[in-house]
Amino acid sequence: MTMKKFAIELTDIDKRFGAVHANNKVCLQVTEGNIHGIIGENGAGKSTLMSILYGFYQADAGQINVLGNTYIFTDSHHAIAAGIGMVHQHFMLVENFTVLENVILGSEGGALLADGLAAARKELTRLGEEYGLKVNLDATIDTLSVGLQQRVEILKALYKGAKILILDEPTGVLTPQETEELFRIFAALKQQGVTIMLITHKLREIMSITDQVSVMRGGQMVAHRNTCDTDREELAELMVGRKVLLHVDKGPANVRAPLMTVKRLTVADNQGVERLKGVSFELRAGEVLGVAGVSGNGQTELLEALSGITPLTSGSVQVLGMEMDAKHPLSPDILRELGLAHVPEDRHRMGLITEFSASESALLGYHTDASINSGLWLSKAKVDANCEQLMQAFDVRPADPHLKSANFSGGNQQKLILAREMERNPEVLLIGQPTRGVDIGAIEFIHQRIIAMRDAGKAVLLVSVELEEIMSVSDRIIVLCDGAISGRINAEDADERTLGMMMANALDPIDPLQAMNDAKSSSNRTAQELDL
């Protein structure tokens, strides 16, 4: 066997941010032509390490070897020149440019575009054939699916001569089918000698696609494994530093009366495009109803309509003894008073006010509550006490009510929001992406709290793009595709393949007879009422 060369060799990389030791003598060897996974919790130092490798940060100490040469990167251009390409979690594409225009961005080659475009077209056609990366070069980005946009990002990196591709959480936005497609592309790239570094927190993907995997914890590399010699349980334990329950432990649901009945709910956006199209379902006390779907298929609109943020275009929602429809909206504050809590999908855009202190963010939605107001003014003592209590209940760290909300890690911000919405004991809980960007250890905790709410007889609507989460936490699942419900299934009957087909709306239209039987058996409703 010949000695394999290392594509990347990092030696004793050290980086501090003030008191935080983000990377502590990190060593990493990535064999050329391999797929190498890097896993670790948030704050483990993965992103810092990759930013150092890509030239965004400079290491305080340590050495970077790329393809046998030693470099000091002070700029991402250096990294690109050395053959490193990065595909970020959030795509860096100009939406109204074509694929071709996007790819040559930054390497236009002269004042006039025509020559550069022609040369790029030739090169991209070649790359596309070589690696099986087929994209219509003249399509504008906004007409492409997320999976195809990601492909453009990969093409962009290859076009700039990348021999090493770093992908940060590449499957977060993909359907299972698109993920499979992406993994096929990885295989083709690997065959052509491209080295791939995959940063992810999905252990299943690590197990199925990588050759080696490195685990980071607390700024240090704690283990390197050949993927075939390890398993998910070991990796999870290495990441967290203790045994982790990967499956949610829950008893059977004790389902009671419906607390929320949604009938033919339709929501149109500002342009008049219908984002939700006649969605009907029931949410009952004592159950978790999962809403699966590729993000952008109406989940956001569903949560915002049900919580009173966006007005309904048509249809109605009965919730906790009140009814809202297009003519009679209920505002978020009224719904909250009725006992409906909402953990929004996007914590920075909606869940908290990043410039406020934690104690002020912990008031959002409850700032008029009698428990924290004394007469005219917000009682500072009560505001702080409220926040301290929430922080304690959900183990938010650091437990400092005066720290700016933006300065908490994503997982702790999420825990603060969850605490705010769950600790007031709502009857109905709408919850969007509860564990997005949250550590494995915290995920376990959050799932337990959701199940505890269910067992206390509350109704929970769980929207998530993580199929594993949907399948393990929910009791029933509905699937949204293009704003309509494309599938209903009990959690115990669901598997990734079936859900994936439903998410792509590739199953036969739901058999109306079957749906009618389901509906009858569950709550004696007729098919007309469910609008099928």
Binding site: R16, I72, R349, L364, G365
Partner: protein
């Protein structure tokens, strides 16, 4: 002191001070270019503003106006609104104060006149801000455009009223008849005399106390009440505010009305406190000055009082300068103000990255080992 604290101090204290010093340095260059000794000019300016009792009185009198308009801009700003209509709101506020006084029986006591004129100024100022606020909240017209247009509307309306309706009988000057003396806001020198102290006469009147009360009230309202919370939440992140059950349309209306009302109080200091009649253009410059004051004062009442004092000093000291030095016209005050606004507003972040890098570094830089290829 940790990094977070240091950055706060850089932002709150060091940056404004450096910006003002830079503005003064550039002003010195301007003086030097027009053959005026900058040091001598600075001495005259400071003497004019603080050297004698009457000067101090004028300085605080001007400061009072800037506190009102600075607070007005700040309240709107916390709601995410840029109210540049302080000029018009102050002007119309004056109309409100004047009408309130003329409507009452001149024999009534000051205890009724002064509150009535204050309420008139508050109401009319708020009303003049309400219309742009409504247009912004319910029709989507941009508040910057509408408030600036309302400045012109206010000016035209007042010219019409002063010339045709409110002009004193038999007078050519477009000004109203004198307010009854009962309606005058007491001068500080009169109050002091009543208490046995003798101070030189100046326009300084008790409106300055009203301004300080307003500063405390604004602080209390914005940071200690649920309504203030709603305003700040909307200003920082309106999506999150909607999620939290706050109604941004209402917040826009409330914040703008408070803002307009505060601007309207300029007329209490100017008209009820000093000129004692409705006159033209008493408001000129204070509305826009308020923007700079709020910017410099970081939209916080304490900062606003400090910044207002700086602007009051420039106003009074500059006037003295123009009077004392033959080569200097009063426009030099405008130049200095302009420079302060330029460095505190437009070039706000010029020093910031550098200061943060030197005074609150993220980590010690240890040179990386290795060879560059």
């Amino acid at each position: 002191m940790n990094r977070e604290n240091r950055i706060t101090w850089i932002n709150r204290l060091l940056l404004p001070v450096l910006n003002v010093l830079t503005a003064f340095a550039v002003t010195a260059v301007v003086f030097w270019l027009i053959d005026v000794n900058p040091l001598e000019a600075a001495e005259i300016l400071l003497y004019g503003a603080f050297g004698y009792e009457e000067g101090i009185g004028y300085t605080i009198y001007y400061t009072t106006n800037f506190i009102f308009t600075g607070l007005a801009v700040a309240v709107a700003f916390h709601a995410g609104l840029f109210n540049i209509g302080g000029e018009g709101q102050a002007y119309i506020g004056g109309l409100g104060a004047g009408l309130a006084i003329f409507m009452l029986d001149p024999t009534l006591g000051a205890w009724l006149f002064i509150p009535a004129s204050i309420i008139g100024a508050l109401l009319f100022g708020a009303l003049w801000a309400l219309i742009p606020a409504y247009l912004q909240a319910y029709r989507g017209s941009h508040i910057v455009i509408t408030t600036i247009m309302f400045n012109f509307l206010a000016a035209s309306l007042m010219v019409y009223l002063m010339v045709h309706v409110l002009r004193e009988m038999g007078q050519m000057t477009p000004q109203s008849e004198l307010f009854p003396t009962n309606a005058w806001m007491p001068f500080v020198h009169d109050v002091a005399a009543g208490m046995g102290y003798s101070i030189e006469a100046s326009p300084l009147n008790l409106s300055v106390l009203l301004a300080l009360v307003c500063a405390v009230a604004v602080w209390f309202f914005l940071w200690q009440t649920r309504w203030g919370y709603a305003i700040r939440a909307t200003g920082k992140n309106s999506t999150a505010a909607v999620y939290g059950g706050i109604k941004p349309k209402r917040v826009i209306i409330v914040a703008m009305c408070i803002s307009g009302a505060l601007a309207g109080l300029v007329s209490i200091n100017e008209l009820v406190g000093y000129q004692h009649r409705l006159v033209m253009d008493f408001h000129l410059g204070y509305g826009f000055g308020g923007i700079a004051v709020a910017l410099m004062g970081r939209n916080h009442p304490v900062g606003i009082i400090v910044a207002a004092l700086l602007f009051g000093t420039l106003y009074q000291g500059g006037a003295e300068l123009a009077f004392e030095m033959s080569g200097v016209s009063r426009d030099i005050v405008v130049v200095m103000q302009g420079l302060v606004i330029l460095f505190c507003g437009a070039l706000e972040y010029m020093y910031r990255p550098w200061l943060i890098r030197t005074l609150a570094p993220v980590a010690q830089q240890i040179s990386a080992a290795g060879v560059t290829v």
